[in-house]
């Protein structure tokens, strides 16, 4: 298992290099100019100098190499220094956002908590709700619980968040006035009152995303349970005279969790990438919103860095899912 993990990690390096090159070239080919927001009165020579100041004067492969160096060596050193307080940060050039002229990694670290709180909590709630719902729906297939659950999950699955989001805002913020429309990032939780405020402003985006996540995962869970429920070994367990609780929770559930855990693990990177649409609707300034505004502003260093960070997370969680598979299913051996 250790060797396998190591081999996969080594193989991930060329994969990620290739991914970042593709993203870089795509951005290179994309239309848009970082200076298009500047006043037209700026003389062309000055404009050219500004471009060179942004680092756009050199050939693409030199720029890619420089970005790669900064991304893999310099930025991590600053991030680690920031977290641990060690004096290892490498002085000099950083990857700068063209919008704010501040280092990209600093902005990402600032935006991370909002995304993790809102999207992460929604994912956690989604999983915690989906697993029991899926198990019970499958156990009592075609019961009213199952029918209602299937209906709701179908609705949650088919309605996009850009529909459910505004709908909730209309009902709970505009008509009923229970929750604020806009997420206030500057709010500091210091006492019960501000905590309650935080809960209230998180309620709607978390609900929208929980509904979507739970709908998706509960369908996987139910299907997987139904698959296993009719297996011969379940009949064996009943014939052994085991209680229904053990038959369902030990025999059926454990075997059913194998595919579901994979789905859950593969979904975790989406927590970090943030729910772009939901964050936009509720004005949560997390990573998803950061990405979308960077794209609007042709902020190439930001888009490139964020996309590659997401790519790393996806590759990493793919590996984690594969390893979980081996832990959960004794038939799978990697060495």
């Amino acid at each position: 298992m250790f060797n396998y993990t190591l081999r996969r990690l080594l193989l991930a390096i060329p994969t990620l290099l290739f991914i970042s090159l593709v993203i870089f070239l795509l951005l290179e080919l994309s239309p848009g100019d970082p200076l298009s927001d500047m006043p037209l009165s700026i003389p062309p020579e000055v404009r050219q100098e500004m471009r060179i100041a942004l680092g756009l004067g050199e050939a693409w492969y030199i720029r890619f190499y420089k970005w790669l160096y900064l991304f893999t060596i310099v930025e991590p050193s600053h991030v680690i220094a920031g977290f641990t307080g060690l004096d290892i940060a490498i002085e000099g050039q950083r990857i700068l956002s063209w919008q704010t002229r501040s280092p990209v990694s600093d902005i990402i670290i600032q935006r991370m908590p909002q995304t993790l709180w809102v999207v992460g909590l929604a994912y956690l709630f989604g999983v915690l709700l989906a697993v029991p719902i899926g198990v019970y729906s499958a156990y009592r297939q075609y019961s009213w619980f199952d029918q209602t659950g299937s209906f709701i999950s179908m609705v949650g699955f088919s309605l996009p968040t850009f529909f459910t989001g505004p709908l909730l805002i209309l009902i709970f913020a505009v008509w009923l006035g229970w929750f604020p429309i806009i997420y206030d990032t500057t709010l500091n939780v210091t006492n019960w009152e501000t905590f309650w405020k935080q809960v209230r402003q998180m309620a709607m985006p978390v609900f929208v995303l929980t509904l979507f996540n739970a709908a998706q995962i509960s369908r996987y869970m139910r299907a997987s349970m139904l698959d296993n429920m009719t297996q011969d070994y379940v009949r064996t367990a009943r014939a052994k005279g085991m209680t229904e609780r053990i038959v369902v929770l030990v025999h059926v559930l454990r075997n059913s969790l194998i595919p579901v855990v994979t789905v859950i693990a593969l979904g975790i990177p989406t927590v970090f990438t943030g729910a772009i649409i939901t964050e936009q609707i509720f004005r949560v300034n997390g990573l998803g919103q950061l990405l979308i505004t960077a794209i609007y502003a042709s902020d190439i260093p930001m888009v490139l860095t964020l996309s590659v960070v997401f790519a790393i997370l996806i590759v990493l969680f793919n590996l984690i899912a594969d390893l979980l598979y081996a832990i959960l299913d004794p038939r799978i051996r990697y060495d």
Partner: protein, 375 residues
Amino acid sequence: MTAAPDMTAALPPESARDTPTNPATQRRKLVEVKNLKLYFPIFGGLLRRQVGDVKAVDDVSFDIYEGETLGIVGESGCGKSTCGRAVLRLYELTEGSVVIDGQDIATLSPEKLRLKRPSMQMVFQDPQASLNPRMTVASIIGEPLDEHTNWPRTKKLERIYELMDAVGLNRDYANRYPHAFSGGQRQRIGIARALALNPRFIVCDEPIAALDVSIQAQVVNLLEELQDQFGLTYMFISHDLSMVRHIADRVAVMYLGKLVELAPVSALYANPLHPYTEALLSAVPEPDPFAETRKERVVLKGDVPSPSNPPKGCNFCTRCPKVMEICREVEPAFREYAPGHFAACHLLEETGTAALNGGMRPEHNQTRIQQGEDA
């Protein structure tokens, strides 16, 4: 596979084994099945209403005596396996009673039934699918002990090792998973699991059907040894007639959810009363090639009717070579024509016991086919 006896020396003449041709009078009935019916509902139409039933087991009655092996034979789809599962109430019965050791399990509450389970066990057909792939051999065998005993860990482990020895599995394999074993070894795990709580009655649901022929013999011999050792009572479901002849004391023949004949093994194989049993027995391959070519084979025409829409009268009337007018109208009763020899056929009611006493079998007529032509 240490305790795997060789099959080549097996198959003693059955007359040596079932000397008491009618064990009914002496021995105690352990299992009494009365009018067992198991229908699977068919739902159809727009509103998914029940439109009919698949009559998998339709009014079956038989007894199993303590310490004996009752073989159940029949072609696939005749309801053998369903009957075996119904006897242990792994399906909810539609009608009828199953009294095991004085207790009617058809009406027991789920909890009482669960507590009764240790005394009645099952060896399943597919040794791969019937073992939980995520449990080690030790936990598969030991799980019933966790549930039904409060023994300390060491005692449970001792019992697990004892069972593994009994079925001829190496103790070192205790922490392996089922996928790491061969088919025969997996079936041994299944048998060890069934034995864990000292059951008195075991339903063997085609325990050898999924196994290689050389392994089949090992498993059957193992089952016989265990029967002697622990005084077990078996209900042995199989479509392998020669294997049933080898292991069973009495044999019941099923066709389309009903019993057509039930007799001690020697009587059944020497003198089958029902035309279906005759046809079934004529299909058993003969090891001697000269005898095989001379053998007359009853070849049944057509397919088994659907169990959701069985024919009126006798279930076998659509394929019976000796069908009469009455067969298509009246269902024949399941009667005793000789001591311990039951059958359900109108032919017997006419010819009476003459056929039996004279040892004469009714002549085959137009369905006679020579093996050579058949091939």
